[in-house]
């Protein structure tokens, strides 16, 4: 064993400290002049509201060329503005530029009055009514559905239960098999008494959810990230980008207790979606009933939804037109990285255009 695994040049280290100090000093000025941080930059209008939910319609610079609207269904955890974080990092803006007609379900911030919302209320209720709004608005039978993460799971369930209302299904970083060996969240929650948990705390606080996510990579996300922030403190634009992401990460909704109970128990613990035994209300979710074209996009370095959790989708859906698209990046990078802007929206549009 080596006693000293380091090789540090004191002079170089001193220079490093000096550079660090300069960055900090410059950062002070930068931080003093940072303006309010806003998410969701693409012009939009509310076309439907119900309880805490808002259905947004985005306005592109030119009219959409796609005849079928694309409805984005985001997860209940975090706000949906990851898809429209800022002008140059916006999946929505890029989809509009491609010619898509984009709508987004914004679930809002549940409070005590929403404690008893179930997955059935979300999927067969809110989501179905949003789809009906679009069908009526556009005079069509079926919409294109784009589900993200947990929203992808919702979209799979919805499509299986309301096949006639979905023309094409796109899923992004969506788990199907919750019991893969590299799924840390699922591993942790497996033996937790979910009923006791929800009975004890009711709605699951957003801070608690965020804390759980941070503990997936505790030192990297709680310490190293903020040390790295010093590197960009002298760059106002980079600092704003950092703060915008920070705002998105921590500005999260609480989780409605009953929906959380069902999702954690049936999906994370019992893996019922994969087994074909999941139920939404009284109805069984049979993914084999999904016969419409499916595009499944997953991130190869995803620590929340590992690729192995998503790729089994091919086997469990009934569609003969299944396409998988692997993206080189992580769970967040798939929406906000420069490469994602160039690759993902064009790929989605090209795939939809052929169908």
């Amino acid at each position: 064993m080596t006693s000293n695994p380091f090789h540090i040049d004191p002079q170089r280290a001193q220079a490093e400290v000096d550079a660090f100090r300069r960055k900090l000093e410059a950062g002070l000025e930068t931080l003093k002049h940072v303006g309010p941080i806003e998410l969701g930059t693409t012009p939009r209008e509310a076309v439907y509201r119900e309880d805490k939910l808002t259905l947004w319609h985005f306005k592109g610079e030119k009219p959409p060329t796609a005849k079928t609207p694309l409805l984005i269904c985001y997860a209940l955890v975090n706000t949906p503005w990851m898809v429209d974080l800022q002008e140059d990092r916006s999946m929505v803006r890029n989809l509009l530029a491609q010619g898509e007609d984009v709508y987004l379900i914004d679930w809002g911030y549940p409070d005590g009055a929403d404690r008893w919302l179930t997955l059935e209320d979300y999927i067969d209720g809110y989501m179905d009514r949003c789809v009906d709004v679009l069908r009526k608005r556009h005079g069509i039978d079926a919409v294109n559905l784009l589900g993200i993460c947990q929203g992808g799971v919702f979209s799979l369930c919805y499509t299986a239960l309301h096949a006639e209302k979905v023309r094409n299904l796109v899923t992004m970083v969506t788990p199907v098999d919750f019991h893969t060996p590299d799924n840390m969240l699922s591993h942790w929650v497996r033996n937790v008494d979910i009923d006791l948990f929800v009975d004890a705390i009711g709605n699951v606080p957003a801070d608690l959810m965020n804390f759980a996510y941070l503990t997936l990579k505790p030192v990297r996300l709680n310490q190293q990230k903020y040390v790295g922030l010093v590197d960009i403190l002298d760059n106002p634009k980079e600092v704003e980008n950092f703060l915008r992401m920070e705002k998105w990460i921590f500005d999260s909704p609480d989780q409605a207790g009953e929906a959380f109970r069902e999702f954690a128990r049936d999906f994370f613990q019992k893996n019922l979606l994969m087994k074909g035994e999941a139920r939404i209300g009284a109805r069984q979710v049979d993914l084999k009933k999904i016969t419409q074209p499916v595009l499944n996009i997953y991130a190869e370095q995803d620590h929340l939804v590992p690729p192995a959790a998503s790729t089994p989708m091919k086997r469990v859906v009934g569609s003969k037109d299944y396409t998988a698209l692997a993206f080189q990046g992580g769970h967040i990078g798939i929406y906000v990285s420069g490469r994602a802007q160039k690759q993902v929206p064009p790929a989605i549009h090209a795939w939809l255009e052929k169908r």
């Binding site: 064993m1 080596t2 006693s3 695994p5 380091f6 090789h7 540090i8 004191p10 170089r12 280290a13 490093e16 400290v17 100090r21 931080l31 003093k32 940072v34 969701g40 939009r44 509310a46 439907y48 509201r49 309880d51 005590g112 009055a113 404690r115 008893w116 919302l117 209320d121 209720g125 009514r129 009906d132 709004v133 009526k136 060996p181 591993h187 942790w188 497996r190 033996n191 937790v192 008494d193 006791l196 009975d199 705390i201 009711g202 801070d207 804390f211 759980a212 941070l214 990579k217 505790p218 030192v219 709680n222 310490q223 190293q224 903020y226 040390v227 922030l229 010093v230 703060l243 920070e246």
Partner: protein, 333 residues
């Protein structure tokens, strides 16, 4: 390692401390000079996190240079449902080194501090994990298992159950802490076993190397069967404790004439049932309207009637039109 790096680490540490204090003063509204720029633009939570990250980095640099063991990477401990120290419930406790609940979340946590039910149990002078605590817990558990008598029998039983749950929780918490400590020790061992690079490396690259090793060690532990069992046991123990605490609060609320959480939950559940029924009735009403229109069209012989299935969508449109009349909320540009 020569003394020179130690000197510079000390200087660096002192300078970081001074810098943090300076920054704190800068962003303290009371200390800020007029016209010095709006501190509102800078989210305080971000500052707290940045400071915590830098402080952790500084601690690490000092420990590395001095050859001492750095503080555990997880601060004072990191129970699954939040930050916890000895005797404190994870939801309620802030701690050093963990920004989410230790810094920015402190206000939130202190607001949620319950009047009783958490904290060190009466008579516990030793820390969980020590032999003296185990002995105290054994005796306390025996005592707490004794039957209660008299007018306040129920309350006494509840208090006893609460204390037993606390002792149980402390045991699970200690097991969790031990696992986390093992994570750090394995990472340190791996680091010490590494051959130093031929070329001098930067302090940052050494730090990054250490972070990678800790994360690898943590991931390995976190995916183990033992961790899964310990994690769940801790969460479950914490929730049992919380339920018992709530039970006592319910009793106090009733005595004070305040609504209890159970009552509020019950109202919420009924409200949700009514919301579902109402929507169902709206759907049925729309279908009836559609059928009536269909029948009217057939009777009048005015042409092909609309299919009944179109009716729900029409009703939705009507509902949508009604809904969007409400004033838009804050985030619309």
């Amino acid at each position: 390692m020569s003394d020179k790096p130690n000197d510079f680490i000390d200087q660096y540490q002192a300078w970081v401390r001074e810098g943090l204090q300076t920054w704190s003063r800068q962003f303290d509204p009371k200390a800020a000079s007029p016209g010095a720029g709006s501190s509102e633009a800078v989210p305080g939570d971000i500052m707290g996190r940045l400071f915590a990250g830098l402080a952790g980095y500084g601690d690490w640099m000092r420990s590395m240079a001095s050859g001492e063991s750095p503080a555990a990477p997880f601060g004072a401990g990191m129970p699954p449902c939040g930050q916890g120290g000895v005797g404190m419930p994870p939801f309620m406790q802030g701690g050093v080194g963990m920004p989410p609940y230790g810094q920015g979340g402190a206000e939130f946590l202190s607001m949620g501090m319950p009047p009783f039910g958490y904290g060190p149990p009466p008579g516990a002078t030793a820390q969980p994990g020590s032999e003296s605590f185990d002995e105290w817990a054994r005796v306390a558990n025996e005592t707490l298992s004794m039957p209660a008598f008299g007018l306040n029998r129920e309350q006494q039983e509840e208090q006893q159950a609460l204390l037993r749950a606390w002792i149980d929780y402390a045991g699970h918490y200690q097991r969790y802490q031990t696992l986390l400590q093992g994570v750090y020790e394995r990472a340190g061992e791996t680091l010490r076993g590494q051959t130093p690079p031929g070329d001098a490396e930067s302090m940052r690259s050494v730090y990054d190397r250490w972070v990678t090793l800790v994360e690898e060690s943590y991931a390995q532990a976190a995916l183990s069967a033992e961790f899964r069992e310990v994690y769940a046991s801790l969460v479950n123990a914490q929730m049992r404790l919380k339920v018992l605490q709530q039970s006592q609060l319910e009793r106090v609320s009733v005595q004070a004439g305040m609504p209890t959480r159970k009552e509020v939950d019950s109202l919420g559940e009924r409200l949700q049932a009514v919301r579902r029924e109402l929507r169902q009735m709206h759907g049925l009403a729309a279908e009836v309207e559609a059928l009536k229109a269909e029948v009217a069209a057939l009777r009048a012989g005015t042409g092909k009637p609309k299919p009944a299935k179109a009716a729900p969508a029409a009703a939705v449109k009507k509902a949508a039109a009604k809904s969007v009349k409400r004033p838009p909320r804050g985030k619309s540009p």
